[in-house]
């Protein structure tokens, strides 16, 4: 079987068009029918010459993360690319300009850093660019063409991807690009080629099961909002969530929905909850600093039992932190941020398809359980591209409101009536005979302020218990175990975007013969205790890798299910290294075997 799994990294400085060629490459591969995962890293400044890396993994079947090693590294700037040479696998290719503009001092040229088992591919990028376009600016496109040529990839998909990307530019630019691409392609097609890296056929079966698209996590959120029939959106710009609002600003009005850019995040969540009170499916999107501002209002949503959906794409913290770096450190805030006992629903998808599903389901849950629902993403997930397969039929309920039976008309309306499932029938403004006032004060079933001991105890119970039903909410995976079934030496428990790296590490560990298995937890509040308990019971050792310093998820889990676990906490601002996880698995497995042998 010809299973395609090739990762290409383009590395250069901000002016080199590095991100641009990465983008064309992934779009071309998606057009060719491959599955794609792609993530770019670039400097925070708007201007400057910082390092950019675009990594694209191309596979025939679904992958879960970038690979720890790339198969191909394309250097557009040797100074930036040299540190990344070690990330190229054995028999992988390093492509570089073998005729740069100035002679480089020894050690400054990448060719001197390529390792014995790696294959050097020198190409006069600048020269070729100057020859065919009259300028050096198209070096990146030459290199792209070269990659396509070396691996015999179909030209058409690249042409189409470039056309799409540069559709607004002039015809001259289009011609320049295609000339540069061709020059590179030709050079690549004629070069000697080892067969360690090959692209097999894309798997066409996928096309049958739904709508195949390449999108980012934020793009998937937008699509989920639209598919779930969101009516209103209120937001305030903040990296890495801004693109959700920007895309919705274009799309939502086309469907008659409304979007308002508010004066701040407090206003955004307040308006979202106001709209939710008025019966609208409403959402906002932010990052940690904005979420911090929202927590008082979220408490009102909890107390007044009003639906709202909050997308929070995490970045490096605390405070303004690292706006263009990824981290998973807003979990404490999302779950515990609120005065009083203010439990709500918190979910974190682990991949792009999950982002779409969580987004859509969040509206159902908010409405059904009358509560704020926070969907936690992070910069890595928000910005990374994946090809996803969406079902052809919209799986989201158009309306999940528990309405007040008409026969109750004329009776005193108990907005907060105690019921078996803790959810009280709800009326919305404009509805005949359902007038009531909701409040952030503790209240009785009519919604009138009431601070008697029994009332507060019962209402607290109601607010907490009604959320448990979310653990069985239809159509969404709350938690899932992967890998070996039954008892294992090492169990890896993970959440959010890091779960891709966890799976990757687990598969590698399995290949090494380690007895292990991984579980992802999508619903973080309320926590799915029972599946986690069952998993714990099967695991001799438990590893919890996450991108934060305090072990926030480990805190959550061990508070609910006290047991010793091993925490792997890293805060590099970039995705977790698969090797780091793998090392821990190996270490724990060795320990487990040793203690079993005692």
């Amino acid at each position: 079987m010809n299973r395609t799994d090739v990762q290409v990294a383009f590395c250069g400085s901000a002016g080199d068009g590095t991100i641009a060629v990465g983008d064309i490459f992934k779009r071309a591969m998606a057009r060719a029918g491959y599955r794609v995962i792609a993530f770019d890293i670039y400097p925070p400044e708007i201007r400057g010459f910082g390092k950019c890396i675009a990594r694209v993994r191309v596979t025939a079947e679904q992958a879960y993360s970038l690979k720890r090693q790339s198969d191909v590294l394309v250097s557009l700037n040797d100074g930036h690319a040299i540190p990344h040479v070690p990330e190229v696998c054995d028999y992988g290719a390093v492509i570089y300009d073998n005729n740069p503009i100035a002679a480089l001092a020894e050690g400054r040229h990448i060719s001197g850093h390529i390792q014995p088992a790696q294959l050097p591919y020198g190409l006069p990028m600048r020269e070729l660019s100057e020859q065919v376009t009259g300028g050096a600016k198209s070096r990146n496109i030459v290199a792209l063409g070269y990659v396509a040529g070396v691996f015999g990839l179909p030209k058409e998909v690249f042409m189409a991807a470039m056309e799409e990307k540069f559709s607004r530019k002039s015809a001259t630019i289009a011609n320049t690009n295609s000339a540069a691409f061709d020059a590179g392609y030709e050079a690549g097609a004629t070069v000697f080629r080892l067969d360690f890296i090959t692209f097999g056929d894309p798997k066409p079966a996928a096309v049958d099961i739904g709508d195949v698209r390449m999108m980012t996590g934020n793009g998937a959120v937008v699509r989920g909002c639209l598919d779930a029939g969101m009516n209103t959106f209120f937001g305030y710009p903040i990296t890495p969530a801004t693109s959700i609002m920007e895309r919705l600003a274009v799309e939502l009005p086309k469907r008659g929905g409304r979007l308002v850019q508010t004066e701040d995040e407090i206003s955004a969540i307040s308006a979202t909850i106001g709209a939710g009170y008025a019966g609208s499916r409403s959402a906002t999107a932010t990052s940690g600093p904005g979420l911090a501002l929202m927590v008082e209002m979220l408490g009102l949503g909890v107390m007044a039992e009003v639906p709202s959906v909050i997308f929070c794409s995490q970045r490096g913290g605390p405070s303004t932190g690292m706006p263009t770096k990824t981290e998973q450190s807003d979990l404490h805030l999302a779950v515990y941020g609120g005065a009083g006992d203010a439990q709500r629903i918190v979910m974190a998808p682990t991949n792009v398809e999950g982002a779409w599903r969580c987004a859509g389901k969040a509206f159902e849950m908010a409405e059904k359980y009358q509560t704020p629902v926070i969907v936690l993403l992070d910069l890595y997930l928000s910005n990374r591209y994946e090809t996803v397969v969406l079902p052809r039929n919209n799986p989201f309920e158009a309306e999940s409101v528990k309405t007040r039976p008409l026969r109750d008309r004329g009776m005193p309306y108990e907005r907060f009536a105690f019921t078996d499932d803790g959810v009280s029938p709800r009326t919305i403004p404009g509805e005949e005979d359902g007038m009531h006032t909701v409040t952030g004060l503790e209240h009785n079933t009519l919604g009138r302020p009431n601070d008697q001991p029994e009332m507060h105890e019962r209402m607290s119970e109601k607010r907490h218990n009604k959320l448990l039903a979310a653990l069985d909410h239809p159509g969404i995976t709350i938690s899932k175990r992967f890998g070996q079934e039954g008892p294992v030496d090492v169990g890896i428990l993970g959440w959010g975007s890091t779960f891709g790296e966890i799976l990757e590490a687990m598969f590698l560990a399995q290949e090494e013969g380690i007895s292990c298995s991984a579980m992802k937890v999508v619903m973080l509040s309320p926590l799915p205790i029972e599946p986690i308990r069952a998993f714990f019971n099967d695991c001799r050792e438990v590893l919890i890798p996450e991108l934060n310093y305090e072990g926030q998820f480990a805190n959550l889990v061990t508070a609910a299910l006290p047991r010793a676990v091993t925490r792997l906490n890293r805060v590099p601002g970039i995705p977790m290294s698969v090797d780091d996880i793998l090392d821990q698995i190996r270490r724990l497995a060795a320990g487990a075997r040793a203690s079993a042998a005692e």
Binding site: P253, V260, S267
Partner: protein, 303 residues
């Protein structure tokens, strides 16, 4: 309404009916305010205005913050949202954006509005959200038992200003005018008929209407904004005041020692709903219109 002298049977009957209409806006909860608090006449004013304008209870949403003033929604038989201290306007904006058909009133005290809520007023005003904002301006924090507020006068001794307030007070009317509010007025709890009339006008205005209601806190302010002081200070806006003239309105608003009652300024300009509808039609003209309209409204209408 000074018609008690006239013995006409029919008119009395009519008034009774009208009065009944008004009472239907009252909830079963009696106001928990201190006897004599200026706020009572504001409840009267609002129910009178709603009745006069014939707005159905079910179509009214009253949003408030936290404070004595903000207890308001509990006393009315409409939809109500008693929110957080200072968040009245954004919650009200969300409600209005979700459903144009509702009559939305925002209510709060001077602290709720101009201290903790100050960030939101400029934006509700400039966007011309079609709602009425009533600020019960008693120049003090009532609910928390008498601290200085942003509209407390200089020299006022309160529990947080034991050596007398030294911070220059804000001028709500000038602020609202500078924000571009499309209707700005002032009334006084001690003149309930005029107050009711102004509430009616504010509600009838299409766009963002701001009504500052001077109101004594009889419990925690025995010296500054009392009935007897206000009775001496207030005046009506001059007869020839031109409510289309922003600069004239500003000039009147600067005379804080002798607060004028009436409509300072009004103008017609597109509301937030107009703006959003413009956006929708621009968006749709670029693309074939698609299905999912405002289901919130559909839901409400559907039952």
């Amino acid at each position: 309404m000074g018609s008690f002298n006239e013995p006409v049977y029919l008119e009395e009957k009519l008034r009774e009916v009208r009065e009944n209409g008004r009472l239907s806006y009252r909830s079963r909860s009696l106001p928990t305010w201190c006897p004599g608090c200026g706020y009572f006449s504001i409840v009267e004013g609002v129910t009178n205005a709603l009745n006069k304008l014939g707005i159905a209870n079910k179509d009214v949403a009253i949003v408030s913050g936290i404070g004595c003033a903000s207890r308001f929604p509990f006393f009315l038989n409409t939809y109500g949202f008693h929110t957080l201290h200072g968040r009245t306007l954004p919650v009200a904006t969300g409600i209005k954006v979700a459903n144009d058909a509702l009559t939305v009133m925002a209510i709060g005290g001077d602290g709720d509005a101009f201290a903790i809520g100050g960030a939101h007023i400029p934006h509700a005003a400039r966007r011309n959200v079609d709602m009425t904002y009533l600020v019960f301006d008693n120049g003090i924090y009532g609910l928390t038992k008498g601290q200085t507020s942003p509209t407390s006068v200089l020299g006022f001794k309160t529990s947080t200003s034991p050596y007398e307030n030294q911070d220059a007070p804000l001028n709500p009317l000038m602020m609202l005018l500078s924000y571009g509010a499309s209707w700005v007025g002032q009334a006084y709890a001690g003149q309930p008929h005029h107050l009711a009339d102004l509430i009616t006008q504010a509600l009838a205005h299409r766009g963002f209407s701001y009504l500052n209601v001077l109101s004594p806190c009889v419990t925690f302010d025995k010296t500054t904004r009392t009935y007897s002081n206000l009775n001496m200070q207030v005046r009506m806006l001059p007869n020839d005041h031109d409510s289309a003239d922003m600069m004239a309105a500003m000039a009147e608003a600067t005379r804080v020692g002798e607060p004028a009652l009436g409509v300072y300024f009004k103008a017609q300009r597109p509301t937030l709903a107009d703006a959003l509808n413009t956006i929708t039609s621009k968006a749709r003209s670029k693309e074939a219109p698609s299905q999912g309209a405002n289901t919130a409204k559909k839901r409400a209408a559907g039952r």
